[in-house]
Symmetry: C3
Subunit: 365 residues, 3 copies
Amino acid sequence: MTDFSYDDFMQLSEHELVPHLNDFSVLFAQQFSREKLNHLCKVADAARYIRRTSAGADFLAGLLKHYSVLNFFVQPSSRTFLSFCTAESMLGMRRLSVRDINISSIAKGESLSDSIHTFISYVDLVVMRHPDDYSGVDAFWTTLKSHRRLTLKGEKCPIPIISGGSGKKQHPTQSLLDIYTLERAFKDMGGIDGKTIMLVGDLKRGRTVRSLSYMMKEYKDVSLIFCAPEEYQMEKDILNFLDDNGIPYKFANSIDEAVAEADAVYMTRIQDEWDSEKKTDGSHTAAKEDFIFTMENLKQMKEHAALLHPLPKRDEIEKEIDYCDDERVYYWRQERNGMWMRVALIAWLFKVDEEILNYKLHNRL
Amino acid sequence: MTDFSYDDFMQLSEHELVPHLNDFSVLFAQQFSREKLNHLCKVADAARYIRRTSAGADFLAGLLKHYSVLNFFVQPSSRTFLSFCTAESMLGMRRLSVRDINISSIAKGESLSDSIHTFISYVDLVVMRHPDDYSGVDAFWTTLKSHRRLTLKGEKCPIPIISGGSGKKQHPTQSLLDIYTLERAFKDMGGIDGKTIMLVGDLKRGRTVRSLSYMMKEYKDVSLIFCAPEEYQMEKDILNFLDDNGIPYKFANSIDEAVAEADAVYMTRIQDEWDSEKKTDGSHTAAKEDFIFTMENLKQMKEHAALLHPLPKRDEIEKEIDYCDDERVYYWRQERNGMWMRVALIAWLFKVDEEILNYKLHNRL
Amino acid sequence: MTDFSYDDFMQLSEHELVPHLNDFSVLFAQQFSREKLNHLCKVADAARYIRRTSAGADFLAGLLKHYSVLNFFVQPSSRTFLSFCTAESMLGMRRLSVRDINISSIAKGESLSDSIHTFISYVDLVVMRHPDDYSGVDAFWTTLKSHRRLTLKGEKCPIPIISGGSGKKQHPTQSLLDIYTLERAFKDMGGIDGKTIMLVGDLKRGRTVRSLSYMMKEYKDVSLIFCAPEEYQMEKDILNFLDDNGIPYKFANSIDEAVAEADAVYMTRIQDEWDSEKKTDGSHTAAKEDFIFTMENLKQMKEHAALLHPLPKRDEIEKEIDYCDDERVYYWRQERNGMWMRVALIAWLFKVDEEILNYKLHNRL
């Protein structure tokens, strides 16, 4: 695969790139088969179980103690950044971060590829959030071309890249934590298979809902409800994908209309940071009334249903819901699931996932 | 206490809030009784003693090795930030930081409360500096409402918040280190009790001198001298507080006038960052001649007296004093005391303070 | 030496300052004798050898585990910053960083000297990059005046400062890594002695090529070729220095003209960040055709020759060269050498360099 020139490589579609990724880097939600998803959920569960004891925490912190990671985040992020940092620390990694492109050599006219080459000269993992859709591919190509390799369980591997969100399209670790949260919410009801999931808000530009839709292909008998104002409705490429894969979906004009049918409601914020005309007064686009989740909607939900949100949120969920102590409000737990899923993901890339499963097996509390 | 709505909670006065804090979080100087202050000074002394040996340093670094902390500083800070970082590291904590609100989700319209909720999903302590007076209360309320708890010596505790300075009013850890510095300066002379302390400079907007005044209530027979230009003179609320608590004070029109009477002189900088009209040329308001501490003033000071400054300083202390090797110049040592006091404070919040005292007891050098 | 006043100290020339540095701080390339250079290369080699095993990595990470370092970088940097961070972590140091002067107390009008005093109240090493030529001298003076000392192998030492680049003149650790890279490139050919080195690009403002020229005094029979457009040609002070020390040099008007004679070609970028009129559109000054290193030039190079670049680069090296797999392309390895050289340098300052050499001696793989 290193035979591709840079220009040719950057021309490949996500679909064509997936086989090249080969468990070395994490760029796209569609890299993950049902089997891998199940495995990662299991590792995440094991890590969270293990860390309850001091001995378990010591075990985890010893796994990657001589590896280092750069968190290269050049767009705003709290959750993704902090949960990666925490996950990395739990595994004992030494963390570095670059959060402002103006303090890096990119300010001196360096190409992204050269910057990445520099990063992977020093660190053993790069987690990156970047506004360009193909920044991760650029970085991945550089890891293949660079001579530096990690030896993991006897195998020579390029330095891994994990996307922490790139452009409007991909945010694969968010998808993983959404899957993990849904699986946990429905763990006594057969998991995600057979469930109806309603996606609400800015479906057009919300990379989380787009990725989640893609991943439904891995689950059986799932159906989707798209609930969004016309200007934010789900894009044609996703609808075509669902049609091609026989995943049923329908549209709803308000939360009221369909909330009672849903096993999960996945709320999203209006992503006005992508608006061509940005507001300069610090204000934000308000959510429309029909697409604000209310206490009334909570009452209408099924008894076992789950309310998710990738966060940050603004006004699309009524404030009273935040601390109403209803078990169906999942978004705070969803955040913490993200941390555990990131522990699992990094452990898997560095091939210590089986050690985590074994530790749990042999150290039942 | 979790019965309060957010709006009701934010209406409570500092006085009403103190009992709710309950040793879980540190927001106000007035949380600390004489007994607690003495205890923290003792723990700080013990930690500094222990850390002289490599074994002692190992002991300290093991105390909180599986806990993490976020330093959330959205206003400029060198001393407070670095001394917290160093203190946290000495106790073995894993540190994260957010120093720019523009790289956090607040840039996407998230509320401070939601941001804090996210932070405490991942970390076990938040140290925050924020321009809003009530930001710490907002954060504290969120820790009560969130479901995440730490188990410390068998007790379930909300995630602690420590204020590293909020708005113009509070900077409790600065007060603690000021107390610790004064106690050490007067350790062979009965401590702070009975001393005369002169406060100089911008008393109106200097939160350190305001807090220190409040804390004098905990000490016996202290008297205060306020030495400031009229426009920066101490505010009425503090004077009323002193009257109510029978703490004598007087005013001085220059340092010269009263320096010979003082056991301690506490200098402050003109806090022109709070001026409604900010200078745009990078210049700063100069101190007035009568309120600049000179080599002459140093000669006039009592033999055992102490010269303090919370730093940063500008022109209010003559440059020659910085390195004149006079034992009475305390402000550089005051900085380092801050680090030890923060070690003590965090140890106390996480209930490992007694372990530090015991280690010292059993490991005399 | 602490008898100098601040103003007098700041008047000293680099030449006069060198003896004061006394192995306490690293500010100038000319501090390093041939003997020290050889020693540091040996320590760097040993550290890189040791770190291949997990036991070796543990050994290194134990050496400075109770020391902390502040990376104070107020100019853009990727390589220098990250390689220092990685080196520090490998030695077990606790790292802190300040990368933006606006979040420090300098924003409140504090002097650089006071800021440094604060830093060295909390940390045991300051690595700094600063736009002012004499910022490092200012910092060094402060370390002498401050009372805080480290006890290293029984000796009381001021807190060390390492320059990570100051102003247009000095970048001593870059010089060290350049020397290390050249020594490794020529290790089977007698090292740097007797070689011809061509320096290309912006020689006027490139502190790396200036420092490298100075250091050639320590090597025997080296000759230099300066290849630059007239406006970027090497400055008179360096030419005088070479004349005084009997180091032969000549000029070339293009890479083509002299590339076949060179044992090493050291490329540099046009440092347009120092231009008095800065471009505001994010564009950069293009390299001139005669000074762009091409695939053709690579063919013209001697068989054993080495192509170096301090990076970041822009257009002065043809893109195809980056990944052409020619052994003579050294710049990517040069980056990683920088990390190992910084490990060696810090180990030497903290007097654990001999421990590293001994560990290697007694633990042959």
